[in-house]
Symmetry: C2
Subunit: 81 residues, 2 copies
């Protein structure tokens, strides 16, 4: 076994986020990827790392450190208050 | 074995598309999903079906008939000429 690739799915519990989680995050191959789900509205201490990875809005998936925005639920700025 | 779920990745060969294909489409669990890659610039006869599924830009992934736009490479209108 080689090490799995990190895949972090950032969301905020919004309807667009839930749908993306159900259809995309759940479709990843967990034999090759360590999938972590992070709710940025509840885990505000994770916002800085998400922004550093290039995340501008949720839902977003960061794989191998690269950000992929999936549709559009909310800007990350709206999760900071 | 139950039937696999259809997952169609629409792209146009653009850099944003290639990156999304390499990181997202290739990460899907192929034991559960039948992943098809469609280059809409070369397969213009597939554009109508993509639009019917709600695809507005590429790269996009249609899973279970629902469209997920991944970042932004090109609008689908640019692929029709």
């Amino acid at each position: 076994m080689t090490a799995k690739t990190a895949a972090i799915f950032y969301h905020a519990g919004c309807p667009v986020c839930v749908e993306a989680e159900r259809q995309i995050a759940d479709a990843l191959d967990t034999t090759r990827y360590d999938v972590e789900l992070v709710h940025l509205g509840e885990q505000k201490d994770r916002i800085a790392a998400a922004e550093s990875a290039g995340v501008k809005s949720v839902p977003a998936l960061v794989i191998n450190g690269a950000p992929f925005h999936i549709n559009f639920g909310a800007p990350i700025s709206a999760l900071k208050s």
